[in-house]
Amino acid sequence: MKGMSQIVKVIAELVKDFIILFGIYIILNGHLSPGGGFAGGVIIAASYILITLAFGRERAMKELSEKGSHILDNFGVLLFWAVAVLGWLIPGQAFFSNFIQRFAPGSPYNILTSGIILVCNIAIGIKVGASLFSVFTALAHFESPLKGDDEE
């Protein structure tokens, strides 16, 4: 798949970084404005899918290889799991307790408040973005299965 026409390529080249920036904004402001980990992650995945559609698989693989998205996917979910278990390990706190907010509550209405909500949003954003992109490449790869190449 060598990608679409030239116009699409030029526009995609311009737009893709803004989409990623918008996705990161949605993730980081999850606890202040609507949106959050899920929406931001899917937006980032959509930007990578745009690259795959516009430029074909080889270019997208340079941006984020299948192995890389696999590792990122696991890293995101493990980070979320670790934040939960950390709450459980701290003696005074229960499982999943917002220990950052209890020890260092930020002032309301600015970014660095609400303890683990920010950290968890980032973790979910990474995970959702990476996993949806790896599903899309698996579906795209399935489209042109060169016989016998996939002998993993």
Binding site: P34, F38, Y109, V128, L132, V135, A138, L139, F142
Partner: protein
């Protein structure tokens, strides 16, 4: 009145799942059923000219209890939307593999070919 329209949408989805023989149609029927239940859940929490449950400044802090829409259905439906995306991804990949093995999306032909 609105709830019964949601119910009609749910029944259309169920009808599509039960009578259609094409795999993709069955998957689409399931997604319609999920959408109907999600909309029904959020409709339950609406308050006439209710505001969004976000506190932007201290003045709003005290008034939000009287005016805000119910935040719990929103949290639950957000989870349910992402669950239906996950199920859609799994079932579409199953349908593609079945198409590759049997050469058709038609579930009755697949059952006959199974032998």
């Amino acid at each position: 009145m609105i709830y019964s329209l949601c119910l009609v949408l749910f029944i259309l989805g169920l009808y599509c799942v039960l009578t259609k023989k094409n795999l993709i149609k069955i998957i689409v029927g399931l997604v319609i059923m999920d959408n109907a239940v999600n909309l029904f859940f959020v409709l339950l929490g609406y308050r006439t000219n209710g505001t969004v449950p976000i506190i932007t400044n201290d003045a709003e802090k005290s008034m939000i209890m009287q005016h805000s829409v119910d935040p719990i259905p929103q949290a639950l439906v957000l989870t349910s939307i992402v669950i239906s995306l996950g199920i859609l991804a799994l079932m579409v990949s199953l349908a593609i593999r079945l198409y590759e093995k049997y050469g058709t999306f038609d579930i009755t032909k697949i059952r006959k070919l199974k032998g």
